[in-house]
Symmetry: C3
Amino acid sequence: MIWQRKHILGMRDLEAEEINLILETAESFKEISTRTIKKVPTMRGKTVVNLFFEPSTRTRTSFEIAAKRLSADTINFTVSASSVSKGETLIDTARNIEAMNPDIIVTRHSAGGAPYLLSKYVNSSIINAGDGAHEHPSQALLDMLTVKEQKGKLKGLKLAIIGDISHSRVARSNIFGFTKMGVEVRVAGPATLIPVDIEKMGVGVFYRIEQAIEEADIIMMLRIQMERQKGQLFPTLREYSRFYSLDLKRLKLAKEDVTIMHPGPINRGIEISPEVADGPYSVILNQVTNGVAVRMALLYLLAGGGDLD
Amino acid sequence: MIWQRKHILGMRDLEAEEINLILETAESFKEISTRTIKKVPTMRGKTVVNLFFEPSTRTRTSFEIAAKRLSADTINFTVSASSVSKGETLIDTARNIEAMNPDIIVTRHSAGGAPYLLSKYVNSSIINAGDGAHEHPSQALLDMLTVKEQKGKLKGLKLAIIGDISHSRVARSNIFGFTKMGVEVRVAGPATLIPVDIEKMGVGVFYRIEQAIEEADIIMMLRIQMERQKGQLFPTLREYSRFYSLDLKRLKLAKEDVTIMHPGPINRGIEISPEVADGPYSVILNQVTNGVAVRMALLYLLAGGGDLD
Amino acid sequence: MIWQRKHILGMRDLEAEEINLILETAESFKEISTRTIKKVPTMRGKTVVNLFFEPSTRTRTSFEIAAKRLSADTINFTVSASSVSKGETLIDTARNIEAMNPDIIVTRHSAGGAPYLLSKYVNSSIINAGDGAHEHPSQALLDMLTVKEQKGKLKGLKLAIIGDISHSRVARSNIFGFTKMGVEVRVAGPATLIPVDIEKMGVGVFYRIEQAIEEADIIMMLRIQMERQKGQLFPTLREYSRFYSLDLKRLKLAKEDVTIMHPGPINRGIEISPEVADGPYSVILNQVTNGVAVRMALLYLLAGGGDLD
């Protein structure tokens, strides 16, 4: 297929065929990051702006490294929420950036839907690097690349996602992406952290981790946000950990060759035990490595492709 | 003419001939930002340091993009006021930067005159990116480029600048620049926000917006700083807006082909109505685009010119 | 000799032969920063990450300029102490960076030993850019380069280091480095700011500045940290300054061709008088210039050397 899409806003929009092309492109880019000279001239003279309305060192760094390995110029434009509230609207900020002729704007915002709004008002390509509790498509794509590497396929696998499903853009994007590729997705967490009607997304819902991970090929643990405790969505960290943490004992319920994932940063001893996080089934750092490759693929495809060195 | 000047400190210093050369150079650079490969090798191996003592994402980004499109290396050096007050003087900070052999230092400081001081103590070229309420020459130059594009000339036009004239480095630099090029400049605002003796700068002074914009070719609205209200320089935002906002009704007093400008970020509904800001006469985003071109021209001329790709 | 070492963690580890190679390499790099095109392609396609757990604009900028003049891609990754305390360990953060395939990680941390720990857990080369009160090897190396330039040699010289020896990583790294190269090192400061047993590092200890600087070839003044006063380690700034400041009168006790150094930023009138800081014996700004050259040498050697343009 030939890439046609202008923006990467969410996994909900992407077709299976497009996902496959992104993953294949990312696979070919992975090798570049292991070369002595980790750089191809593909995007020389292109400008990529990281327009972040929420602080994020990790995701921003991953996109910045990806852009630099493609020889693009990168600009970090971090807007504190306070400065936006001082009068300029989101769209005015974006139009200002746009007026400087960037090729691609990578954006993160605390409000779900913000990148969709931007895509209607600016001419540059937009990549959603996380919008509220809504979507985080590059994370889902790097997760899919990691699973594909581990299992050689996606179709027919069983994936369990455990934790705070309600507030997780990672969970949502992964549910859209994996179900689209024929993966059976199950979610589990405290009832207060599972959205009502989530079955409609085509997933199985469980309230006990043991049930969800039974015979799972992949377990994806979500980061627990400590601050949710104040909202009384779960009683105490200790109790959360007792019922939903992935430890060696629970791990035995999954398939023998289970793959353990986590979007990071991990809370050691809370949602995942150190033995599991650092153990032989964990691919948490492979996910980070694949993050750079997937983001290179997205930038490359949106910039119009072209020859690779 | 051949460019001789080492620093860009203010519009007050620049000769009309120099302004013309900057604007012509900027015009030729504008095209580069619309190419597929938006980059020329002119400043390869040159170092541009953005030495900002005041936070400014927008102006810093514009200079950074300009430098990168000329292939210069850019370094952002942001110094919080608190860290300067911890003992090191402004000049010591600048001499330290200087010792790392940058070619050009772009600087912003809350104190008027700071870039002038620096230019006496360091060997690099200095570009003033805004000093207190004193000058902001690259803003004035991009405004002049925008007017020249719209009207095909500068001489003989009528420009009205509306708002807080007293605290505006944008207003001051534009008054110096436009009057030098034969433009008739008028200012208007509440009496508390107009400097005493401003007539000596060669401008007409009005206290009602309606008088100032009558038959104007260009109207430049200034951003109202909300915090001035606390100093009781104007009563309420609502009252300010009622008397000094540019709306569709007032717009009719100006020439039929009037051009509307604003240095941004705009306060929608305060100093300018959304209909005017987004309307057909507004060139607010052209100003931003021209900002990159003007800053490329300044960097290029100060770095000694040279071949363009 | 051929460079073998993978990390630069401290001066304590380095052999005299290695120090000589670094200084010679730095000397050859110094010239690059004075060229019209201040850039060699040696590290094209290499990624250097500045992983700073403590804010530091000056040292980070020096490394960033060094990396860019070698054509490396640079990424600034600043982690606030608060975000680290939010659950992710130092090692997890570093492993995440590592997974993005950087070639060299330059790191600063408030805890002594942090870079040593990192070097055991990641595969990239680590450069210690300052760890607590422990070591700051690139500072010592730039100091040694500066002395070598001034005196033509190191061996047999007398160096006096004055100030807060206890809390100074600069002092510690310089003591390790200079004694190794055959320099006689003396330290002086208030008894509360001199570590017990420091004689074991091979230095002479004095409590009066006059004694320490007598016949010194080089005097290195340390920056006094104002906040130490609260810990009652010295009575008042005024009294500290009276007893330990380097002024013109005291300067006469040293050799006639004495060299005055300071790691910066200087507190004018506190540990050093303006006349001395700006006087003919001061090489404070040469130190900054040499900082870029030494850091280029370190990056170059750790990246495996290679041809210079």
